[in-house]
Protein backbone atom coordinates (compact mmCIF):
# COMPACT_ATOMS: atom_id res chain seq x y z
CA UNK A 1 0.00 0.00 0.00
CA UNK A 2 1.47 3.30 -1.03
CA UNK A 3 0.24 6.85 -1.62
CA UNK A 4 1.00 8.45 -4.97
CA UNK A 5 0.87 12.14 -5.88
CA UNK A 6 -2.06 13.15 -8.09
CA UNK A 7 -2.12 16.89 -8.76
CA UNK A 8 -2.75 19.65 -6.27
CA UNK A 9 -5.77 18.33 -4.39
CA UNK A 10 -5.74 14.55 -4.76
CA UNK A 11 -3.75 11.41 -3.99
CA UNK A 12 -4.02 7.84 -5.18
CA UNK A 13 -3.62 4.90 -2.81
CA UNK A 14 -1.88 2.04 -4.59
CA UNK A 15 -3.18 -1.24 -3.16
CA UNK A 16 -1.65 -4.71 -3.32
CA UNK A 17 -4.93 -6.42 -4.20
CA UNK A 18 -8.54 -5.85 -5.13
CA UNK A 19 -9.54 -6.95 -1.62
CA UNK A 20 -7.31 -4.29 -0.11
CA UNK A 21 -8.73 -1.62 -2.44
CA UNK A 22 -12.29 -2.58 -1.51
CA UNK A 23 -11.38 -2.55 2.20
CA UNK A 24 -9.73 0.89 1.91
CA UNK A 25 -12.81 2.25 0.14
CA UNK A 26 -15.11 0.75 2.77
CA UNK A 27 -13.01 2.18 5.62
CA UNK A 28 -12.99 5.70 4.14
CA UNK A 29 -16.68 5.61 3.12
CA UNK A 30 -17.83 4.55 6.55
CA UNK A 31 -15.76 7.22 8.36
CA UNK A 32 -16.36 9.80 5.60
CA UNK A 33 -14.14 12.63 6.86
CA UNK A 34 -15.52 16.03 5.81
CA UNK A 35 -14.00 17.75 2.80
CA UNK A 36 -13.83 14.74 0.47
CA UNK A 37 -14.82 15.99 -2.98
CA UNK A 38 -14.57 12.62 -4.76
CA UNK A 39 -13.76 9.10 -3.62
CA UNK A 40 -13.10 6.88 -6.64
CA UNK A 41 -12.17 3.24 -6.13
CA UNK A 42 -10.25 1.41 -8.84
CA UNK A 43 -9.27 -2.22 -9.38
CA UNK A 44 -6.13 -1.89 -7.21
CA UNK A 45 -6.44 1.68 -5.96
CA UNK A 46 -8.44 4.40 -4.27
CA UNK A 47 -8.40 7.98 -5.56
CA UNK A 48 -9.16 10.61 -2.93
CA UNK A 49 -9.89 14.20 -3.99
CA UNK A 50 -10.23 16.87 -1.32
CA UNK A 51 -11.94 20.22 -1.28
CA UNK A 52 -8.97 22.64 -1.37
CA UNK A 53 -7.94 23.66 2.14
CA UNK A 54 -10.11 21.07 3.90
CA UNK A 55 -7.31 18.82 5.12
CA UNK A 56 -9.34 15.77 4.09
CA UNK A 57 -6.36 14.07 2.40
CA UNK A 58 -4.37 14.15 5.63
CA UNK A 59 -7.39 12.83 7.54
CA UNK A 60 -7.73 9.91 5.11
CA UNK A 61 -4.01 9.09 5.36
CA UNK A 62 -4.29 8.99 9.16
CA UNK A 63 -7.41 6.87 8.98
CA UNK A 64 -5.86 4.29 6.66
CA UNK A 65 -2.42 4.18 8.28
CA UNK A 66 -3.90 2.24 11.21
CA UNK A 67 -6.55 0.29 9.34
CA UNK A 68 -6.57 -3.47 8.83
CA UNK A 69 -7.04 -3.68 5.08
CA UNK A 70 -6.80 -7.46 4.85
CA UNK A 71 -10.18 -7.75 6.49
CA UNK A 72 -12.83 -5.38 5.19
CA UNK A 73 -14.80 -3.67 7.98
CA UNK A 74 -18.00 -5.43 8.99
CA UNK A 75 -20.41 -2.96 7.56
CA UNK A 76 -23.89 -3.71 6.34
CA UNK A 77 -23.60 -3.25 2.60
CA UNK A 78 -26.70 -2.77 0.49
CA UNK A 79 -27.82 -5.98 -1.17
CA UNK A 80 -29.26 -5.87 -4.66
CA UNK A 81 -30.71 -8.78 -6.60
CA UNK A 82 -30.93 -8.57 -10.37
CA UNK A 83 -33.25 -10.85 -12.36
CA UNK A 84 -31.47 -12.10 -15.44
CA UNK A 85 -32.62 -14.00 -18.50
CA UNK A 86 -29.62 -16.14 -19.45
CA UNK A 87 -29.84 -15.93 -23.22
CA UNK A 88 -26.62 -14.07 -24.05
CA UNK A 89 -24.99 -14.42 -27.45
CA UNK A 90 -21.78 -15.78 -25.94
CA UNK A 91 -23.38 -18.23 -23.48
CA UNK A 92 -22.29 -21.29 -25.48
CA UNK A 93 -18.76 -19.96 -25.93
CA UNK A 94 -18.54 -19.34 -22.18
CA UNK A 95 -19.82 -22.87 -21.40
CA UNK A 96 -17.37 -24.38 -23.85
CA UNK A 97 -14.36 -22.49 -22.46
CA UNK A 98 -15.41 -23.32 -18.90
CA UNK A 99 -15.90 -26.97 -19.88
CA UNK A 100 -19.39 -27.06 -18.37
CA UNK A 101 -23.02 -27.15 -19.54
CA UNK A 102 -25.16 -24.06 -20.22
CA UNK A 103 -27.10 -24.82 -17.02
CA UNK A 104 -23.85 -24.92 -15.09
CA UNK A 105 -22.89 -21.47 -16.35
CA UNK A 106 -26.20 -20.13 -15.03
CA UNK A 107 -25.76 -21.97 -11.74
CA UNK A 108 -22.19 -20.71 -11.30
CA UNK A 109 -23.20 -17.13 -12.10
CA UNK A 110 -26.27 -17.10 -9.83
CA UNK A 111 -24.68 -18.95 -6.88
CA UNK A 112 -21.97 -16.37 -6.32
CA UNK A 113 -22.31 -13.15 -4.29
CA UNK A 114 -20.61 -10.19 -5.91
CA UNK A 115 -19.23 -6.88 -4.66
CA UNK A 116 -19.25 -3.67 -6.71
CA UNK A 117 -15.52 -2.94 -6.70
CA UNK A 118 -15.55 0.23 -8.80
CA UNK A 119 -17.35 1.90 -11.68
CA UNK A 120 -16.35 3.45 -14.97
CA UNK A 121 -16.70 3.00 -18.71
CA UNK A 122 -20.19 4.55 -18.53
CA UNK A 123 -22.38 6.07 -15.80
CA UNK A 124 -23.77 3.24 -13.67
CA UNK A 125 -21.42 0.56 -15.05
CA UNK A 126 -20.18 -1.37 -12.02
CA UNK A 127 -17.23 -3.78 -12.09
CA UNK A 128 -18.46 -6.68 -9.94
CA UNK A 129 -15.94 -8.96 -8.29
CA UNK A 130 -16.59 -12.46 -6.96
CA UNK A 131 -16.82 -14.32 -10.27
CA UNK A 132 -16.24 -18.11 -9.89
CA UNK A 133 -13.00 -19.39 -11.42
CA UNK A 134 -14.43 -21.17 -14.50
CA UNK A 135 -16.21 -17.95 -15.57
CA UNK A 136 -13.06 -15.83 -15.50
CA UNK A 137 -12.56 -15.62 -19.23
CA UNK A 138 -10.95 -13.19 -21.65
CA UNK A 139 -12.77 -10.47 -23.55
CA UNK A 140 -13.90 -11.07 -27.12
CA UNK A 141 -11.05 -10.68 -29.63
CA UNK A 142 -12.89 -7.77 -31.22
CA UNK A 143 -15.52 -5.76 -29.34
CA UNK A 144 -19.12 -5.50 -30.53
CA UNK A 145 -20.03 -2.07 -31.84
CA UNK A 146 -23.46 -2.24 -30.21
CA UNK A 147 -24.24 -4.00 -26.95
CA UNK A 148 -27.92 -3.62 -25.94
CA UNK A 149 -28.74 -2.01 -22.57
CA UNK A 150 -29.18 -4.48 -19.71
CA UNK A 151 -26.71 -6.98 -21.22
CA UNK A 152 -24.95 -9.03 -18.55
CA UNK A 153 -21.34 -9.79 -19.39
CA UNK A 154 -18.14 -11.27 -18.00
CA UNK A 155 -14.50 -10.30 -18.57
CA UNK A 156 -11.44 -11.35 -16.62
CA UNK A 157 -12.14 -11.21 -12.89
CA UNK A 158 -15.32 -9.14 -13.35
CA UNK A 159 -18.97 -9.43 -14.26
CA UNK A 160 -21.23 -6.46 -14.97
CA UNK A 161 -24.29 -5.03 -16.67
CA UNK A 162 -24.24 -2.52 -19.53
CA UNK A 163 -26.47 0.39 -18.41
CA UNK A 164 -27.15 1.59 -21.95
CA UNK A 165 -26.32 0.92 -25.58
CA UNK A 166 -22.58 1.08 -26.13
CA UNK A 167 -19.72 -0.72 -27.81
CA UNK A 168 -18.34 -3.50 -25.64
CA UNK A 169 -15.98 -6.46 -25.61
CA UNK A 170 -17.30 -8.47 -22.67
CA UNK A 171 -18.70 -11.96 -23.25
CA UNK A 172 -22.49 -11.67 -22.97
CA UNK A 173 -24.36 -14.31 -21.02
CA UNK A 174 -27.79 -12.74 -20.49
CA UNK A 175 -29.84 -9.61 -19.96
CA UNK A 176 -31.79 -7.86 -17.21
CA UNK A 177 -34.67 -5.40 -17.39
CA UNK A 178 -33.40 -3.50 -14.35
CA UNK A 179 -32.63 0.18 -14.92
CA UNK A 180 -28.96 0.57 -14.04
CA UNK A 181 -28.72 4.34 -14.48
CA UNK A 182 -31.27 7.15 -14.57
CA UNK A 183 -29.84 10.67 -14.26
CA UNK A 184 -33.20 11.96 -12.99
CA UNK A 185 -33.49 9.37 -10.21
CA UNK A 186 -32.07 9.65 -6.70
CA UNK A 187 -29.78 7.81 -6.40
CA UNK A 188 -29.05 7.89 -10.14
CA UNK A 189 -27.15 4.59 -10.23
CA UNK A 190 -28.55 1.26 -9.05
CA UNK A 191 -25.06 0.02 -8.13
CA UNK A 192 -22.48 1.90 -6.07
CA UNK A 193 -19.03 0.74 -4.92
CA UNK A 194 -19.32 -1.55 -1.89
CA UNK A 195 -22.80 -2.88 -2.73
CA UNK A 196 -23.40 -6.64 -2.68
CA UNK A 197 -25.08 -8.04 -5.79
CA UNK A 198 -26.75 -11.36 -6.59
CA UNK A 199 -28.10 -12.54 -9.92
CA UNK A 200 -31.29 -14.61 -10.06
CA UNK A 201 -32.32 -16.60 -13.11
CA UNK A 202 -35.59 -15.26 -14.50
CA UNK A 203 -35.89 -18.24 -16.84
Amino acid sequence: MRWRAYGEHAALLDCASLTQAIAAHAAVSSARPSGIAELVPGARSLLVVETPGSGALAAVRDLLSGADLEHPPDGEPREITLDVTYDGEDLELVAQDAGVSLEDVVRLHTDAVYTVAFTGFAPGFGYLTGLPGPLRQPRLPSPRTRVPPGSVGIAGEFTGVYPRVSPGGWRLIGHTRAVLFDPRADPPALLAPGDRVRFRSAG
Partner: protein, 291 residues
Protein backbone atom coordinates in the same frame (compact mmCIF):
# COMPACT_ATOMS: atom_id res chain seq x y z
CA UNK B 1 -42.40 32.29 -20.73
CA UNK B 2 -39.04 34.05 -21.00
CA UNK B 3 -37.08 32.26 -23.70
CA UNK B 4 -34.43 32.36 -26.41
CA UNK B 5 -34.97 30.67 -29.76
CA UNK B 6 -32.03 29.04 -31.51
CA UNK B 7 -31.77 30.28 -35.12
CA UNK B 8 -28.40 28.74 -35.99
CA UNK B 9 -25.79 26.90 -33.91
CA UNK B 10 -22.41 26.84 -35.64
CA UNK B 11 -20.27 23.70 -35.18
CA UNK B 12 -21.38 22.93 -31.60
CA UNK B 13 -23.33 24.89 -29.00
CA UNK B 14 -23.93 23.32 -25.57
CA UNK B 15 -25.66 24.35 -22.39
CA UNK B 16 -23.04 24.48 -19.62
CA UNK B 17 -22.92 25.51 -15.99
CA UNK B 18 -20.35 24.55 -13.36
CA UNK B 19 -20.99 20.83 -13.85
CA UNK B 20 -21.83 17.94 -11.56
CA UNK B 21 -18.76 17.06 -9.48
CA UNK B 22 -19.14 14.43 -6.75
CA UNK B 23 -20.48 11.52 -8.82
CA UNK B 24 -17.22 10.07 -10.14
CA UNK B 25 -17.72 6.92 -8.00
CA UNK B 26 -20.87 6.22 -10.04
CA UNK B 27 -19.02 6.68 -13.33
CA UNK B 28 -20.36 10.20 -13.98
CA UNK B 29 -17.84 12.78 -15.29
CA UNK B 30 -17.79 16.27 -13.71
CA UNK B 31 -18.58 18.06 -17.00
CA UNK B 32 -19.29 21.83 -16.85
CA UNK B 33 -17.91 24.82 -18.77
CA UNK B 34 -14.33 24.17 -19.95
CA UNK B 35 -13.36 27.83 -19.53
CA UNK B 36 -14.91 28.41 -16.10
CA UNK B 37 -13.71 32.04 -15.63
CA UNK B 38 -15.28 32.97 -18.98
CA UNK B 39 -18.68 31.55 -17.99
CA UNK B 40 -18.67 33.10 -14.52
CA UNK B 41 -17.68 36.48 -16.00
CA UNK B 42 -20.48 36.29 -18.57
CA UNK B 43 -22.92 35.51 -15.76
CA UNK B 44 -21.75 38.45 -13.66
CA UNK B 45 -22.08 40.78 -16.64
CA UNK B 46 -25.62 39.53 -17.30
CA UNK B 47 -26.59 39.99 -13.63
CA UNK B 48 -26.71 36.28 -12.78
CA UNK B 49 -25.24 34.09 -10.10
CA UNK B 50 -21.89 32.81 -11.37
CA UNK B 51 -23.22 29.24 -11.45
CA UNK B 52 -26.11 29.95 -13.84
CA UNK B 53 -26.27 27.93 -17.05
CA UNK B 54 -25.12 29.63 -20.24
CA UNK B 55 -24.11 28.50 -23.69
CA UNK B 56 -20.65 27.24 -24.61
CA UNK B 57 -20.25 28.07 -28.26
CA UNK B 58 -17.51 26.27 -30.19
CA UNK B 59 -16.02 28.45 -32.90
CA UNK B 60 -18.93 30.88 -33.23
CA UNK B 61 -21.77 30.70 -35.71
CA UNK B 62 -24.43 30.93 -33.00
CA UNK B 63 -27.57 33.03 -33.63
CA UNK B 64 -30.34 33.41 -31.07
CA UNK B 65 -33.65 35.28 -31.18
CA UNK B 66 -34.95 36.87 -27.98
CA UNK B 67 -38.52 35.71 -27.37
CA UNK B 68 -38.66 38.28 -24.60
CA UNK B 69 -36.48 41.23 -23.66
CA UNK B 70 -33.35 40.12 -21.83
CA UNK B 71 -29.71 41.00 -21.17
CA UNK B 72 -26.92 38.90 -22.62
CA UNK B 73 -23.15 38.98 -22.39
CA UNK B 74 -20.57 37.15 -24.50
CA UNK B 75 -17.11 36.33 -23.11
CA UNK B 76 -14.09 34.18 -23.89
CA UNK B 77 -11.71 35.15 -26.71
CA UNK B 78 -12.29 38.39 -28.61
CA UNK B 79 -15.22 37.87 -30.98
CA UNK B 80 -17.64 39.88 -33.12
CA UNK B 81 -21.13 40.13 -31.59
CA UNK B 82 -23.98 41.64 -33.58
CA UNK B 83 -27.57 42.47 -32.77
CA UNK B 84 -29.79 42.61 -35.85
CA UNK B 85 -26.63 43.08 -37.93
CA UNK B 86 -25.17 45.90 -35.84
CA UNK B 87 -21.89 45.36 -34.01
CA UNK B 88 -22.26 45.56 -30.25
CA UNK B 89 -19.07 43.96 -28.95
CA UNK B 90 -18.27 41.27 -26.46
CA UNK B 91 -17.42 41.38 -22.75
CA UNK B 92 -20.21 43.81 -21.89
CA UNK B 93 -23.90 43.49 -21.07
CA UNK B 94 -26.13 43.88 -24.14
CA UNK B 95 -29.87 44.46 -23.86
CA UNK B 96 -32.06 42.66 -26.40
CA UNK B 97 -35.62 43.72 -27.17
CA UNK B 98 -38.17 41.02 -27.93
CA UNK B 99 -37.59 39.71 -31.46
CA UNK B 100 -33.99 40.89 -31.80
CA UNK B 101 -31.39 38.43 -33.03
CA UNK B 102 -27.90 38.21 -31.53
CA UNK B 103 -25.14 36.61 -33.61
CA UNK B 104 -21.73 35.45 -32.41
CA UNK B 105 -18.97 35.33 -35.03
CA UNK B 106 -15.87 33.14 -35.05
CA UNK B 107 -13.39 34.09 -32.29
CA UNK B 108 -10.17 35.63 -33.62
CA UNK B 109 -8.17 33.15 -31.54
CA UNK B 110 -9.18 30.45 -29.11
CA UNK B 111 -12.13 28.14 -29.50
CA UNK B 112 -14.97 28.67 -27.06
CA UNK B 113 -17.10 31.72 -26.36
CA UNK B 114 -19.69 31.83 -23.59
CA UNK B 115 -23.06 33.51 -23.74
CA UNK B 116 -24.90 34.21 -20.52
CA UNK B 117 -28.45 35.52 -20.47
CA UNK B 118 -30.30 37.22 -17.62
CA UNK B 119 -32.04 34.49 -15.60
CA UNK B 120 -29.84 31.76 -17.05
CA UNK B 121 -30.85 28.89 -19.32
CA UNK B 122 -33.51 26.97 -17.38
CA UNK B 123 -33.17 23.61 -19.16
CA UNK B 124 -33.94 20.55 -17.02
CA UNK B 125 -31.11 19.68 -14.65
CA UNK B 126 -29.70 16.16 -14.35
CA UNK B 127 -27.74 15.26 -11.21
CA UNK B 128 -27.94 18.86 -10.13
CA UNK B 129 -26.48 20.35 -13.31
CA UNK B 130 -27.58 21.62 -16.71
CA UNK B 131 -24.23 20.82 -18.30
CA UNK B 132 -24.09 18.69 -21.42
CA UNK B 133 -21.59 15.89 -20.97
CA UNK B 134 -20.51 14.73 -24.43
CA UNK B 135 -18.98 11.48 -23.14
CA UNK B 136 -21.96 10.23 -21.09
CA UNK B 137 -24.64 12.08 -23.04
CA UNK B 138 -26.12 13.40 -19.81
CA UNK B 139 -27.71 16.87 -19.69
CA UNK B 140 -29.48 18.98 -22.32
CA UNK B 141 -28.92 17.79 -25.91
CA UNK B 142 -26.63 19.89 -28.13
CA UNK B 143 -28.55 22.94 -29.38
CA UNK B 144 -30.31 22.72 -32.73
CA UNK B 145 -31.97 25.35 -34.90
CA UNK B 146 -35.57 25.78 -33.78
CA UNK B 147 -34.93 24.88 -30.11
CA UNK B 148 -36.64 27.18 -27.62
CA UNK B 149 -34.56 27.61 -24.47
CA UNK B 150 -36.55 28.57 -21.37
CA UNK B 151 -34.96 31.23 -19.17
CA UNK B 152 -35.06 31.57 -15.40
CA UNK B 153 -36.03 34.65 -13.44
CA UNK B 154 -33.26 37.26 -13.38
CA UNK B 155 -31.92 37.54 -9.82
CA UNK B 156 -30.75 41.12 -10.19
CA UNK B 157 -29.78 43.92 -12.47
CA UNK B 158 -27.02 43.45 -15.03
CA UNK B 159 -23.80 45.12 -13.96
CA UNK B 160 -21.39 46.65 -16.38
CA UNK B 161 -17.66 46.84 -15.97
CA UNK B 162 -15.34 49.59 -17.14
CA UNK B 163 -13.01 47.41 -19.13
CA UNK B 164 -13.02 43.64 -19.32
CA UNK B 165 -10.35 42.14 -21.51
CA UNK B 166 -11.10 39.14 -23.71
CA UNK B 167 -9.17 35.93 -23.17
CA UNK B 168 -6.11 35.71 -25.41
CA UNK B 169 -5.36 32.19 -26.58
CA UNK B 170 -1.68 32.11 -27.52
CA UNK B 171 -0.43 29.84 -30.29
CA UNK B 172 2.18 28.47 -27.87
CA UNK B 173 1.45 27.49 -24.29
CA UNK B 174 3.72 26.56 -21.41
CA UNK B 175 1.70 24.48 -18.98
CA UNK B 176 2.88 23.84 -15.41
CA UNK B 177 2.45 20.24 -14.27
CA UNK B 178 3.00 18.14 -11.19
CA UNK B 179 3.73 14.41 -11.04
CA UNK B 180 1.00 11.88 -11.73
CA UNK B 181 0.55 8.59 -9.88
CA UNK B 182 2.46 6.65 -12.57
CA UNK B 183 5.27 9.14 -13.24
CA UNK B 184 7.74 6.36 -12.34
CA UNK B 185 6.56 4.28 -15.32
CA UNK B 186 8.25 6.66 -17.76
CA UNK B 187 11.81 7.22 -18.83
CA UNK B 188 13.05 10.82 -18.91
CA UNK B 189 9.54 12.06 -18.23
CA UNK B 190 10.29 15.69 -17.33
CA UNK B 191 12.46 16.16 -20.43
CA UNK B 192 9.94 14.34 -22.62
CA UNK B 193 7.02 16.45 -21.43
CA UNK B 194 9.09 19.62 -21.92
CA UNK B 195 9.43 18.94 -25.67
CA UNK B 196 6.98 20.63 -28.01
CA UNK B 197 3.56 19.00 -28.39
CA UNK B 198 0.88 19.87 -30.91
CA UNK B 199 -2.84 19.89 -30.11
CA UNK B 200 -4.56 17.67 -32.67
CA UNK B 201 -7.98 17.96 -34.29
CA UNK B 202 -9.17 14.84 -32.42
CA UNK B 203 -9.37 16.95 -29.25
CA UNK B 204 -12.75 17.66 -27.66
CA UNK B 205 -14.40 18.21 -24.26
CA UNK B 206 -13.19 14.77 -23.16
CA UNK B 207 -9.55 15.65 -23.66
CA UNK B 208 -6.79 17.28 -25.67
CA UNK B 209 -5.00 14.74 -27.82
CA UNK B 210 -1.39 15.65 -28.48
CA UNK B 211 1.12 14.77 -31.14
CA UNK B 212 4.90 14.89 -30.73
CA UNK B 213 7.80 12.69 -29.68
CA UNK B 214 6.22 9.67 -27.95
CA UNK B 215 6.99 9.23 -24.26
CA UNK B 216 8.89 6.03 -23.52
CA UNK B 217 8.24 3.62 -20.66
CA UNK B 218 10.92 2.56 -18.18
CA UNK B 219 12.15 -0.98 -18.97
CA UNK B 220 10.38 -2.55 -16.00
CA UNK B 221 7.08 -1.09 -17.09
CA UNK B 222 7.39 -1.58 -20.85
CA UNK B 223 4.67 -4.23 -21.13
CA UNK B 224 2.91 -3.61 -17.82
CA UNK B 225 -0.88 -3.49 -17.78
CA UNK B 226 -2.55 -1.03 -15.43
CA UNK B 227 -5.70 -2.13 -13.60
CA UNK B 228 -8.35 0.59 -14.08
CA UNK B 229 -7.94 3.50 -11.69
CA UNK B 230 -9.55 6.87 -11.04
CA UNK B 231 -8.99 9.81 -13.39
CA UNK B 232 -9.19 13.55 -12.77
CA UNK B 233 -9.54 16.68 -14.86
CA UNK B 234 -6.05 17.76 -15.92
CA UNK B 235 -4.64 14.21 -15.76
CA UNK B 236 -2.09 13.53 -18.51
CA UNK B 237 -2.73 9.93 -19.53
CA UNK B 238 -0.30 8.13 -21.79
CA UNK B 239 -1.67 5.26 -23.91
CA UNK B 240 0.68 2.63 -25.36
CA UNK B 241 1.48 4.82 -28.40
CA UNK B 242 3.23 7.28 -26.04
CA UNK B 243 1.15 10.28 -27.14
CA UNK B 244 -0.44 12.04 -24.16
CA UNK B 245 -4.09 12.91 -23.66
CA UNK B 246 -4.87 15.78 -21.26
CA UNK B 247 -8.27 15.09 -19.77
CA UNK B 248 -10.84 17.89 -19.65
CA UNK B 249 -14.28 18.15 -17.98
CA UNK B 250 -16.03 15.26 -19.77
CA UNK B 251 -13.24 12.74 -19.01
CA UNK B 252 -13.98 9.09 -18.23
CA UNK B 253 -13.95 8.54 -14.46
CA UNK B 254 -11.61 5.53 -14.54
CA UNK B 255 -9.07 4.35 -17.09
CA UNK B 256 -6.50 1.67 -17.71
CA UNK B 257 -3.55 3.68 -19.01
CA UNK B 258 -0.98 5.33 -16.74
CA UNK B 259 -1.30 8.99 -15.72
CA UNK B 260 2.20 10.46 -15.98
CA UNK B 261 1.55 14.00 -14.77
CA UNK B 262 -1.24 16.37 -13.79
CA UNK B 263 -1.81 19.88 -15.12
CA UNK B 264 -2.06 22.67 -12.54
CA UNK B 265 -5.73 23.65 -12.34
CA UNK B 266 -5.02 27.30 -13.12
CA UNK B 267 -4.07 26.24 -16.66
CA UNK B 268 -7.34 24.50 -17.49
CA UNK B 269 -9.05 27.61 -18.98
CA UNK B 270 -6.13 28.13 -21.37
CA UNK B 271 -6.29 24.48 -22.44
CA UNK B 272 -10.02 24.91 -23.12
CA UNK B 273 -9.12 27.55 -25.68
CA UNK B 274 -6.25 25.67 -27.37
CA UNK B 275 -7.06 25.26 -31.05
CA UNK B 276 -5.79 22.30 -33.04
CA UNK B 277 -2.26 23.26 -34.10
CA UNK B 278 -1.52 25.04 -30.83
CA UNK B 279 1.97 24.18 -29.57
CA UNK B 280 2.43 23.35 -25.93
CA UNK B 281 5.16 22.32 -23.57
CA UNK B 282 4.77 21.00 -20.05
CA UNK B 283 6.93 22.63 -17.43
CA UNK B 284 7.55 20.79 -14.18
CA UNK B 285 8.96 23.20 -11.64
CA UNK B 286 11.01 21.34 -9.03
CA UNK B 287 8.92 22.82 -6.27
CA UNK B 288 5.78 21.38 -7.78
CA UNK B 289 7.40 18.07 -8.64
CA UNK B 290 8.69 17.40 -5.13
CA UNK B 291 5.52 18.52 -3.36
Amino acid sequence: MRALEVVETGPLALVQDLGRPGYAHLGVPPSGALDVPALTLANRLAGNDEAAAGIECLFGGLRLRAKTSCTIAVTGPAVAVEVDGHAVGSHAPVWLAEGQVVAIGAPINGLRCYLAVSGGIAADAELGSRSRDVLSEIGPAPLRAGDVLPLGTPPGVARGADVVLPTVAPSELVVPVGPGPRAHWFEGLEAGLAKTWTVTAESNRVGLRLDGTPLAREGDYAEKELPSEGLLIGAIQVPPNGLPVVFLADHPTTGGYPVAAVVRQASLPALAQARPGTLLRFHSSTRVWKR
